[in-house]
Amino acid sequence: MAYSDKVLEHYDNPRNVGSLDQADANVGTGLVGAPECGDVLKLQIRVDPKSGKIEDARFKTFGCGSAIASSSLATEWLKGKSIDEALAIKNTAIVEELALPPVKVHCSVLAEDAIKAAIKNYQEKQPSNA
């Protein structure tokens, strides 16, 4: 099955590959995997403490083209968003944007799970929620 142009574009030029400092109190890390296909997705956000907005997002993904494209797109969308806005990102929007076929929908679910895991990790690090 052919990948869509958008998947290929993200695959060839992935945005925001890399890591943020996990020890930074403003950084949230989400790490999720899919045992069936072996994909592993690590997504990190850094929140600006003054504005409360996500100022940077990075990912490191092992998986198929769709998993990489879903992670790449997710980091693009996360930048500039508030936590609440980020929580509202749905996997269906990723499916739509990348024109993912049904067999690759689980890649977008993984990306949404990673976003939620990163936000949860960030929130757990904040003193007010301790």
Binding site: L31, V32, G33, P35, E36, G38, V40, F62
Partner: protein, 152 residues
């Protein structure tokens, strides 16, 4: 609920002697072989084959056992332990850069450690079924990685 252990006259448990499993399978096969026991035994033979296939594979055996014990299904607990995923990501990245015999040995050793941990966990008087499901997810990751290593 199907109990594959009972079908082979075994007490449910994760630790299992492969030779003993094989022996019981062969003995039981004789009594349900269609050539010896007639056409009607065909369904029994199929069930016996399924029980053997499930029990001989560590992942499928553990999956069956967690289910028998009333633990969470693979859709309820979908992740392996977090630190395992970190390790997995590093291993996958390293292998993508070129599989070496050392990396393959690392994966083998890791898989053996997870299986030993599962055996210890299932042997407990009060098994932590959520944790065991997480460890089974880890085993599934390692099985997939080994498959990719051998195909690649």
């Amino acid at each position: 609920m199907t109990d594959h252990f009972a079908r082979l006259g075994l007490t449910p448990g994760f630790a299992l002697d492969p030779a003993e499993l094989q022996r019981r399978y062969l003995v039981a096969s004789r009594s349900v072989h269609p050539d010896l026991a007639g056409e009607a035994a065909g369904a029994d033979a199929a069930r016996l084959n399924e029980a053997f296939a499930v029990l001989r594979d560590p992942f499928r055996r553990g999956d069956h056992l967690v289910t028998l014990l009333g633990g969470p299904g693979p859709n309820e607990v979908r992740q392996p332990p977090a630190e395992f995923l970190e390790e997995m990501l590093e291993l996958r990245m390293a292998i993508a850069g070129g599989a070496t015999p050392e990396l393959a040995a690392t994966v083998d050793a890791r898989r053996a450690a997870v299986i030993a941990d599962l055996a210890a966990g299932f042997a407990s008087d009060t098994p932590d079924l959520t944790r065991l499901r997480q460890q089974l997810n880890a085993l599934k990751f390692l099985d997939g990685l080994l498959r990719d290593l051998h195909e690649g």
